[in-house]
Subunit: 366 residues, 2 copies
């Protein structure tokens, strides 16, 4: 498959707009923002890589951002790994941010385990199991506070790259997308090679039933959709975009979870969508068990950019596993890689990035 | 008294360096950071304007930064006032930041009342009464986290203006300065026209005795000085300066409390001092009951700049009271005013600022 690339960034969807977005951010100085959250939904057995060691996985968002800010995790030993031992994509994010000297701000939408590092507090709490139909408290207030933060950050950064870390997030995304009438069945991604679509849909259906919501009933009530079947990352992320994208470009960094965030953003303020792109990894756009484009295209005509990361020749099996469908994306890895490429005007290639990731892997995992 | 001024900024100390600092920041885009904290010390009767309504005053830092971020206070009605009804200097800060379109980030060093607005959490707790000799927990960790935040912010902002809000802060400043061997007796400022120097010294002596510290014994142990007789704003503020001033100028915005912060900064890393200036108000440098220059000059050759604010012709008695020695400074008012003047290359004068303050006063106080 031949695809149009600029430097090592694939124009994966809405090519013209993607190219224009890349031109706007080329050589510019971004701020990388990582939004973290926890949801009890992650503990449902079989749902995510999280399911096997649920208590340990509660530490993942905090550990991920400690890695970004401190260079190593503090609340756990080593780094977050899947049950098979495949390491967190925060290794990619960290390498990209360090190579391109990009600053980082962590924002908590609501976590159970707090990072042992500075983070922006919005007053949110960790989310509930969406099967109860009561997933997120104070969604409106969190969105408002995040919007204020986004407005202020947009006055100081040339553009924002916003990523996220929340285990169980593709299921809550499926929940919110379904409540808002976007067909995401069989389309959300997974950090495991075999994607448990059936179980995810069952969980979402249970949540919608508990909250007495029909598919699409909350198309124009995003806060209720998040409150019932979403997670606390979503309103924080959406608020940041709503606050910042009026003034500067915002690269939404992640996989299919961003569909839910984008739907919330659109429901509040369509006018910011021109300033927004999705940044992800090649592994996501090549994922045959999911359909990021199919989700995004239902919401808005915004471009999808993908970092052309390729770990097939890595020295480490734990990294080569990314080529076999493990992990794929997270902690804004793809968007951070794109920002590193764009800031350096292509001088930082994905091959250079892999070297950085391998150094981190050697240091922190091997 | 004739004084050298550039625009409406008085070169109050170290004129040559002050002029050079102003030139470096002229036309540049700053980030305003407000560090908040609480200390039980503020509740000691007669010590500060805080003493009369101690429970209410615990809300002051949170309310001050809500005013900055939201345009009005949320955790209290109206705005913080002294017992005489004189309003918080956050009115000045807010007007300056709005007029010059300067973004704001709030950082908590340790508070009892959390702002109902986004703030950077460093994991610190509110401080104890320094008479116990146990004032601040985890000072080292807070400094470290603040330093990381400062490093990251310095990659995105052209320079930082850092202010603070902590009732009782001049007494804790006297404590740390004394522990570190800087003669500040009778030199720290007060938000009241009559400065209770004798009581402040008595409180500090009690704290030093409880912690078994002689005057000057902790000259090279700033963390212990803060831990015993300081407050949780200090290490957060110092950490931000240490992290940011390696890369960008930092205008330390406030009054005599900054002496303690500066002493901590110097003890950790003298090399950043070339990138630092103190920004304050005319009311502080003209305060006959205190001596900011006398404190700063003992620590380092850094310039003092003062916004030439003059409220004597204000329509409101609550603002004219600033000319009679009430409040004087706080919430980075002087530094924010200087930044507004510098960013606008003098187009924003202190007369323009007063109009803005009066509009805010009318809206929020009158």
């Amino acid at each position: 498959m031949t695809r149009k690339k600029i430097y090592d960034v694939i124009l994966a969807h809405e090519e013209g707009r993607g190219e224009a977005f890349l031109k706007r951010i080329e050589g510019k100085k971004p701020l990388f923002v990582c939004v973290i959250g926890n949801t009890e939904t992650a503990k449902i057995p079989g749902l995510s890589a999280a399911g096997r060691y649920p208590e340990l996985t509660e530490f993942t968002p905090a550990a991920d951002v400690e890695l970004l800010l401190l260079g190593s995790c503090k609340c756990i030993k080593g780094v977050p790994v899947t049950p098979e031992g495949i390491p967190t994509p925060a290794l990619i994010t960290k390498s990209a941010l360090r190579l391109a000297d990009i600053p980082t701000l962590v924002v908590s939408g609501g976590v159970k385990i707090k990072p042992l590092a500075p983070y922006l507090e919005l007053g949110g709490r960790a989310g509930g199991d969406i099967r109860t139909g009561k997933a997120v408290e104070d969604a409106e207030e969190i969105l408002l506070r995040a919007k204020i933060a986004g407005e202020n950050l947009s006055k100081v950064a040339e553009y924002l790259v916003v990523g996220e870390s929340i285990p169980g997030g593709t299921t809550t995304a499926l929940g919110v997308l379904s409540a808002m009438g976007i067909d995401a069945k069989g389309k959300v991604s997974s950090s495991m090679p075999s994607n448990p679509h059936h179980l995810k849909m069952k969980v979402v259906e249970e949540g919608l039933r508990a909250a007495k919501i029909e598919f699409g009933a909350l198309a124009s009530n995003p806060l209720k959709a998040v409150s019932c079947v979403g997670d606390p990352m979503m309103t924080a992320f959406a608020g940041l975009v709503l606050g910042a994208a009026r003034r500067v470009p915002v690269l939404m960094a992640g996989g299919t979870q961003l569909g839910a965030v984008l739907a919330v953003v659109k429901a509040f303020d369509r006018s910011v969508l021109d300033n927004v792109a999705v940044g992800t990894t090649r592994w996501i756009i090549e994922d045959k068990s999911a359909d990021l484009k199919g989700i995004i295209a239902q919401i808005a005509n915004i471009p999808i950019l993908a970092a052309d990361l390729d770990f097939s020749c890595s020295r480490f099996d734990g990294l080569r596993a990314y080529e076999r469908g493990f992990v794929k994306e997270g902690v804004g890895a793809g968007g951070a890689a794109i920002a590193a490429v764009a800031k350096s005007k292509g001088a930082i290639t994905t091959a250079v990035l892999l070297e950085g990731v391998e150094r981190n892997y050697e240091l922190l995992v091997a």
